[in-house]
């Protein structure tokens, strides 16, 4: 006789006991955080986020490939955040000189960061009434140097100037540098030159080279009549938000948060559904007789041999899958598995013990007995496996999304990782694009691992002795 305390039976009892253990509580805390995160999304995420995530033009206000803001605390340097000079920042002055109407928009900003900006862009929206208008954009450095960023015609109601890549600006900056230093460097980067003390573009010593102080930007519109316009000047930083941005300027924090409910929902639904199906099928096979059992076994063998991942990839390539159709396929391929084996062996045992009683029972149908008595007894033994299969399914979906084959719209963690990989984040060191989503997935895995371990401790006698 072995002196081991008996395991609790009954689904509710097992759940309660599991949650009382240390690991159980840790799991609940971690998973609770995830759920809370998912539920809090409506509070700060823009409505219609999914559409926005796929609209790459909607993120123009953010810097590209920016690290998270908190990196500053670790590097000690005050890395620049984006300075967005919107229309409201500009002071309007209007003048009439010899029949020309000159509207000047002036904005000032302080720049005291320890590093150069990553990009500069100028925007203007104006109602030009069909006639081109002369536009002047002037930049005044903190040391008083004036550089004309743009001098030309505004021929439509909107203009976006990508100053960091503008060839005309390159030329005028080359001239400027030649005047000031006597040399023209090979590569001219406006966002450095405009903010550099030494004008030598030596990026290593950014902290000491950045010209800190008060800068000014001036938009000047010259026309024959009054023009109302909305200028905008963005000095893109190098850090942004809690999780940085990706190549397409998307706020990764939002993407990562959105990944949580998707992952949790997919994983849990897949895990629970397949577990239920597996248990029912496995138990039914063992319960109803050798013919059915044989059938279930053959099905199990068949599914074992099918290479599931390659086929899923194949299906995803040919048919674009949504997260729901993927769920359907995954469940279809997992309809027999480990849980059905467990269900089967337990059912055999129960059959032995209950069989005689069953013969004497009030004509209750075999099916009814299966569902009321057998299956509930099996369930607690599958909890550990179900908990563990949630992250497995999350990773299955992540695998497909990583390859670019998952749901084409939803921002899932796998998709973010896949984007990072294709953009070469691994080889260029954009670590936040990789590590932060990976961390989230690992956190969810950890939560379910601990939960599974807690269940295992309760139900599995080998882990129960203290």
């Amino acid at each position: 006789m072995r002196w081991v305390s008996a395991p609790p039976t009954g689904i509710k009892q097992v759940l309660k006991e599991a949650l009382k253990t240390k690991t159980g509580m840790a799991a609940v805390i971690i998973l609770g955080m995830m759920i809370a995160m998912s539920l809090s999304i409506p509070m700060y995420s823009p409505a219609d986020f999914v559409k926005k995530w796929n609209d790459l033009k909607a993120w123009y206000e953010n810097p590209s490939l920016a690290a998270p803001v908190w990196v500053k605390w670790f590097t000690g340097a005050d890395l620049p955040e984006t300075i967005d000079l919107k229309a409201s920042h500009f002071r309007v002055d209007e003048e009439e000189i010899s029949g020309h109407h000159i509207t000047t928009y002036t904005a000032y900003f302080r720049y005291s960061y320890d590093d150069y900006p990553s990009e500069l862009k100028a925007f203007i929206k104006a109602d030009i009434g069909g006639k081109p208008v002369r536009l002047n954009i002037v930049f005044v450095r903190a040391d008083g140097e004036e550089i004309t960023l743009f001098n030309g015609l505004l021929s439509s109601n909107e203009l976006t100037l990508d100053l960091s890549l503008d060839p005309k600006l390159q030329k005028s900056l080359a001239r400027f540098l030649y005047e000031k230093t006597g040399a023209i460097p090979e590569v001219i980067r406006p966002e450095i030159v405009l903010f550099s003390k030494s004008l030598s573009q030596r990026i290593e010593n950014a902290a000491s080279d950045v010209l800190k102080g008060r800068y000014m930007v001036k938009f000047q519109l010259i026309s024959d009549r009054k023009i109302s316009a909305e200028p905008r000047f963005i000095i893109y930083g190098k850090v942004f938000g809690l999780a940085g941005t990706d190549l397409y300027r998307r706020d990764l924090w939002l993407g990562i948060i959105w990944g949580a409910p998707v992952a949790l929902a997919f994983g849990t639904v897949a895990a629970v559904t397949t577990a239920l199906l597996q248990v029912v099928i496995g138990a039914a096979g063992a319960w109803f007789g050798p013919k059915w059992d044989e059938l279930v076994q053959r099905l199990a063998d068949f599914l074992l041999i099918i290479p599931v991942l390659p086929i899923l990839i194949l299906i995803s390539v040919i048919y674009r899958v949504t997260i729901w159709s993927l769920l359907g396929w995954v469940i279809l391929f997992s309809v027999v598995g480990v849980s059905s084996k467990i269900a089967r062996s337990i059912t055999f045992q129960i059959r032995e013990e209950q069989y005689i009683e069953a013969a004497r029972t009030y004509g209750a149908s075999k099916t009814r007995m299966l569902f009321y008595y057998v299956i509930p007894r099996i369930m607690p033994f599958t909890f550990a496996l179900v908990a563990l299969s949630v992250p497995t399914y999350i990773f299955l979906e992540a695998s497909l999304s990583f390859l670019g084959l998952g749901d084409p719209e939803l921002p899932t963690w796998g998709r973010i990782l896949g984007d990072a990989y294709s953009a070469g984040a691994l080889y260029q060191g954009y670590w936040w694009w990789v590590i932060l989503p990976a961390f989230m997935i690992m956190l969810v895995s950890l939560g379910f691992t601990l939960l599974s371990y807690a269940f295992d401790k309760i139900v599995n006698p080998r882990l129960r002795e203290e």
Partner: protein, 361 residues
């Protein structure tokens, strides 16, 4: 071998093997046909390929200056002629059912045919060549990795079983389950970032440097150098399974009555460990080998893609992207065969090791 000689006369083993082989063959045939159907996806790919042909023909002809001079009706006729010829050449004119059966029988007999788009490094279009060129690389990486992970894991599991329920044991369990749940490619991208980009210890992918060294020993070393990180990744992702299951199986066996009886018989610990704990434990552990190996080959796809390892996993991916159905079918069939063979061999080994299974019911 004396073992086999003693076993075979007992009719148990032979009929056991025969039964298993039959069932596995049927299953193999069914899954191969299914692959053929899916890979051609009920004619969907046909449509894509036919559209592609139409587009190609029309564009090619429109660039031909002589073509423009022809009257309209002539043009149409010529286009249709060319399209038809191409379709016939590609075998797309036969009905889907017929084609699928042809492909099925070919696949089953491993007559893999020619690829539609891909080529081997030597330029051959024969699928057998393409696959054979890349298969050894996959085997090198994944079989080596699985074996190493198994050895490490089983050893660790044994240690844990003997120190059961200690702090070490409990922590290791959580660690093992945690690492095992996450796929190798996941660690792959993290490890590339850490070890290749930041620490610069290992290369970030590929099998050889560019340009590759020509001298054989240097070449081999170069391959080893590139093999290191994917191998470490694979071992890290798989050892947990071995450790955890070994631990549990061994622990369960240790709790069996016959182990207590062996102790009462005054047998030394070493003998108890080998004959009473490990030998009865080995059948389920070895079955685990079947699962692991099966899993390793299907999991290879993404891992090879992440590391740019030119094996059949990466080939699978390339074939899918190119919608090269014959290659996809060929690969899946090879995979299915390998799986079936492995399962069969392991069933035999299981039958030898556990005499209880040979009882003919």
């Amino acid at each position: 071998m004396q073992l086999i000689r003693r076993c075979l006369p007992r009719m148990g083993l032979a009929s056991f093997v025969a039964k298993r082989a039959l069932i596995l063959t049927l299953t193999l045939m069914l899954s191969v046909y299914m692959t053929v159907v899916i890979a051609n996806f009920g004619g969907y790919i046909d449509k894509i390929l036919k559209d592609q042909i139409t587009f190609d023909v029309t564009t090619a002809l429109s660039r031909d200056p002589n073509f423009a001079k022809l009257p309209e009706a002539e043009k149409q006729r010529l286009i249709e002629q060319k399209i038809e010829a191409r379709i016939r050449a590609a075998g797309l004119d036969k009905p889907f059912l017929e084609r699928s059966l042809i492909q099925f029988t070919q696949a089953l007999t491993l007559n893999l045919g020619r690829a539609m788009f891909l080529r081997s490094a030597s330029g051959s279009k024969a699928i057998a060549d393409i696959i054979m060129e890349r298969l050894p690389r996959t085997i090198l990486l994944f079989t080596l990795g699985t074996i190493a992970a198994a050895i490490i894991g089983i050893f660790l599991g044994l240690v844990q079983a003997q120190k059961a329920l200690s702090k070490f044991d409990r922590l290791m369990i959580v660690f093992e389950i945690f690492t095992y749940v996450q796929p190798a490619w996941f660690y792959g991208i993290l490890f590339i970032l850490i070890f290749s980009f930041y620490l610069r210890i290992f290369p970030s992918g590929g099998m050889v440097s560019i340009p590759a060294p020509t001298e054989p020993i240097a070449y081999a070393l170069d391959v080893l150098y590139h093999l290191a990180l994917p191998l470490i990744t694979w071992i890290f992702a798989s050892f947990g399974y071995w450790a955890y299951t070994t631990r549990n199986i061994v622990l369960q066996t240790m709790g069996e009555d016959f182990v207590t009886a062996a102790k009462a018989k005054g047998l030394p610990d070493r003998i108890i460990l080998w004959r009473y704990v490990l030998r009865p434990s080995s059948p389920p552990i070895i079955t685990g080998v079947a699962f692991a190996i099966v899993f390793s080959w299907t999991g290879a796809i993404i891992t090879e893609t992440v590391f740019n390892w030119p094996g059949i996993g990466l080939l699978f991916w390339e074939a899918i992207v190119a919608l090269d159905a014959p290659v996809i079918i060929g690969l899946t069939v090879i995979l299915a065969y390998m799986i079936v063979l492995t399962v069969l061999i392991l069933d035999i080994i299981y039958g030898i090791l556990d005499p209880r299974l040979r009882v003919v019911r």
